[in-house]
């Protein structure tokens, strides 16, 4: 059962990065769009994510619940030592979720929009940035549970070049996912505009990815040997790079679904390479006493019921979610045909 739970944990994290990430990306793209094109971007985005945007963020909650029910020690260690970036991320989540609704549901469209929009845009940037920092700090052995002073215990655990560069990389991934997603949604005359954007985000992702390696080198984190030292990890990274190249050539063709699948595949491979190399350890500590999904799992009974709850839950959720996406995709195509 423990493996069922781990698969669910991994999948919800992946889906959160993909769906939630595309969602954050929408705001990030708006930031990097000139004022004149903003409303076009915004409208296309809203049509694309409106119906499912709430569900996109549920994956994070599922992941957290799995952590605290199944792996309480991991959940609490991260909560204690990464308190500050977690709070920053939460503030981002609050600001963004509410600003999204406010700007779309305010009955009067007036100057208040000038308040909501920047909040939405900047929190779209901040939230994935801190998410990346949190993820990077957990896996890079910077958490020092023996630290005696405030700074080494609660600040340097996450405020270092490596974590920050992964934060930036996460932001670029979100922007990338959003542009790929939007291409399929855009009306014909806007397509070239969005294709140009997609191209630029792909360059950005590659640049930020390189940055992560530089930062890892600087912080003495053996990132390269983690990823390239392992056949599976290496395969995953190669697959990710190939799919990026294929995508580059596919951008011009009208194959939005294929593009999205490739983008999803690519991110899945990156996540795989990042997590596989030290599986089952998930939180690496400075003193080497790593927290592992296998040795730090909860008692068997708790894991079993959690596993069943997840299985039963997915029987209800997945078909409904699939149908939701399907219906609105269908309607969209019908409308466009008219």
């Amino acid at each position: 059962m423990i493996y069922v739970v781990i698969v669910f944990l991994w999948t919800s994290i992946l889906l959160y990065i993909l769906l939630g990430g595309a969602d954050f990306g929408a705001g990030i793209i708006e930031l990097f769009t000139s004022k004149g094109n903003r409303s076009k971007t915004r409208k296309t985005m809203y049509e694309a994510i409106g119906p499912i945007w709430e569900a996109n963020h549920m994956w994070l909650i599922i992941a957290i619940v799995i952590l605290f029910v199944g792996f309480p020690k991991i959940y609490t260690t991260v909560s204690i030592y990464l308190h500050i970036p977690l709070v920053c991320m939460l503030l981002g989540i609050i600001a963004r979720g509410t600003a999204f609704v406010f700007r779309n549901y305010d009955a009067v469209k007036d100057d208040m929009q000038k308040v909501y929009t920047p909040i939405f845009i900047y929190s779209s940037l901040i939230t994935p940035f801190f998410l990346g920092i949190i993820a990077a700090s957990s896996v890079s052995g910077q958490i020092d549970v023996q630290a005696q002073d405030f700074l080494s215990a609660y600040v340097f655990s996450w405020l270092n070049w490596f974590s920050v560069s992964v934060g930036v990389f996460t932001v670029s991934i979100c922007g990338f996912l959003a542009t790929i997603f939007i291409i399929g949604q855009a009306a014909d005359d806007d397509r070239s505009f969005f294709i140009g954007k997609a191209r630029r985000t792909i360059y950005t992702v590659m640049f930020c990815g390189a940055l992560v390696f530089v930062a890892a080198y600087h912080e003495n984190i053996p990132l390269a040997s983690w990823i390239f030292g392992d056949t599976l990890g290496l395969t995953a990274i190669i697959a990710a790079s190939i799919s990026l190249i294929i995508m580059f050539f596919l951008l011009q063709r009208k194959k939005p679904i294929l593009l999205r699948l490739l983008a999803g595949f690519q991110v899945a491979m990156i996540l795989f390479a990042a997590t596989y190399s030290h599986f089952p350890d998930i939180v690496l500590l400075k003193n080497g006493a790593n927290l592992s999904l296998l040795t730090h799992q909860g008692q068997a009974k708790a894991i079993d019921t959690l596993g069943y709850a997840l299985l039963i839950g997915s029987i209800f959720i997945l078909p409904a979610l699939g149908y939701l996406i399907y219906i609105f995709q269908q309607k969209k195509e019908v409308q466009e045909a008219h």
Partner: protein, 442 residues
């Protein structure tokens, strides 16, 4: 401010904030579905207008409820890591099921909000009902988790270790039923009275009267019926508390001495130093009767509880008085409303009845917050009743006071913006929603 106090206050503020949105998110979909049902049945366009206006409100509240809930699921670890480390696997069952319920709610809401004119009308209606049912379920589940903190079950506590975990037993602990029932009814009372009050105000101002009257009636009927059920459910809760947490009951009642034929103490100022209550109304024997079913039954007082295990008396007592007092006031309004519906239809058009409802607008939510204060403060100094102390659960990280100020600021600004948004939704009814109205905009 000391870190421990800050952590408690931050938790209390976050929950107190979330609960308002959660309740509205649980109950509004039912109001909406009733209005929607009338629209589908009668084809009177005003019902469609009401449904649409309400669904906007639901969307705003849902999103705010969802983000504040997300914050909570992190805060449990950020503020109370020791608690979560041990409690997580035990009381996690309702939370993992709750995840499913939320998810279904979010999906159904997606269908509902974006499904007008796209889905089969009855399928569309059903998705609205599903939003309500899954919201209610998530409320019940999360309260079952809270009930576990009051009435820990499903593990053996041996030498400071939590052994033989049984999450199912933990979920169906002794307190879950009485708390879940009381909470669900409370959600209907508070939302019903709040919504009815707002529409009553608009009727009184003569704006879009047909629209607001229909809306008022749906909300008022839900709220008043629930208000009459609440004392019954509260009585079940009180008996339950007396049995499982005598310290909490004693604090609620400011009952210092164990005695037979114990009086029910209403109001008054508890004097902890001298162990008495000043200026209170005392009804002899009633407390014994209410908790044991017998006027001469024995009720435990604070004197049998060791000093270090006593909850704060004054806060618990006042909060309890506020909840019950407001509950009774709402029962009174409910009875007047029923008389008006069945016997004196002319009252329905009279201003004083509307005014009563306007005054009652915040009552349900105040009672709700007060009730949670009773439960949570009355459990102190325990975070898991009799097992773990709240002090021992708190995070080692210093400087929580700053995080408390930060979140308080955020919550206050959100509350202001949400109020502004609602105010605008309501004042724009004539322009946006009420297709029967010929009134020019304000």
């Amino acid at each position: 401010m000391d870190d421990f106090l800050a952590a408690r206050l931050q938790m209390a503020f976050s929950l107190g904030f979330h609960i308002v949105f959660a309740c509205i998110g649980m109950v509004m979909p039912f109001f909406m579905s009733v209005a929607h049902f009338y629209w589908l049945k009668t084809k009177k366009v005003v019902y469609k207008d009401v449904t649409k206006a309400w669904s906007k409100g639901v969307a705003i509240f849902f999103a705010t409820g969802a983000v504040s809930g997300t914050v909570l699921s992190f805060e449990l670890g950020l503020l109370w890591p020791t608690f979560m480390e041990h409690a997580g696997p035990i009381f996690g069952m309702p939370f993992s099921l709750e995840g499913t319920a939320f998810f279904i709610e979010a999906i159904a809401l997606g269908f509902y909000l974006y499904g007008w004119d796209k889905l089969n009308p009855w399928f569309h209606w059903v998705t609205g009902v599903v939003v309500g049912i899954s919201g209610l379920l998530s409320g019940i589940l999360v309260v079952a988790a809270n009930a576990w903190m009051n009435s820990p079950a499903g593990f053996d506590f041996v030498d400071g270790k939590y052994l033989n975990i049984d999450p199912i037993k933990a979920m169906f602990n002794d307190a879950w039923f009485s708390q879940a029932l009381h909470m669900s009814v409370a959600a209907f009372v508070s939302t019903g009275f709040a919504v009815a009050g707002v529409h009553a105000l608009m009727i009184l101002r003569g704006k879009n009267v047909l629209f607001h009257s229909k809306a008022f009636k749906i909300a008022a009927v839900f709220g008043t019926v629930a208000a009459c059920l609440q004392p019954i459910s509260g009585d079940i809760s009180a008996k339950d508390v007396a049995h499982r947490q005598p310290a909490k009951l004693a604090a609620m009642e400011a009952h210092f001495h164990t005695e037979r034929n114990a009086p029910l103490i209403i109001g008054g100022i508890p004097d902890t130093a001298n162990k008495k209550v000043d200026y209170a109304i005392k009804i002899p024997g009633l407390l014994s009767f209410m908790t044991t079913g017998n006027f001469s039954g024995e009720v435990k007082g604070l004197d049998v509880i060791p000093k270090e295990d006593q909850p704060p008396v004054a806060v618990t007592h006042y909060a309890f008085q506020i909840m019950v007092g407001l509950g009774m006031a709402m029962v009174f309004i409910a009875l007047l409303y029923f008389i008006a519906l069945w016997k004196k239809r002319q009252w329905l058009n009279s201003n004083w009845l509307l005014k009563l409802f306007i005054i009652a607008t915040p009552m349900g939510f105040i009672a709700l917050e007060a009730g949670w204060t009773v439960t949570e403060v009355g459990r102190q100094p325990w975070i898991i009743n009799g097992v773990m102390r709240t002090v021992d659960a708190a995070t080692p990280m210093p400087g929580i006071a700053y995080s408390f100020y930060l979140f308080t600021g955020v919550y206050i600004s959100l509350a202001i913006i949400v109020s502004l948004l609602l105010y605008r939704q309501i004042t724009m009814v004539g322009k946006l929603y009420d297709s029967t109205s010929k009134l020019p905009k304000n």
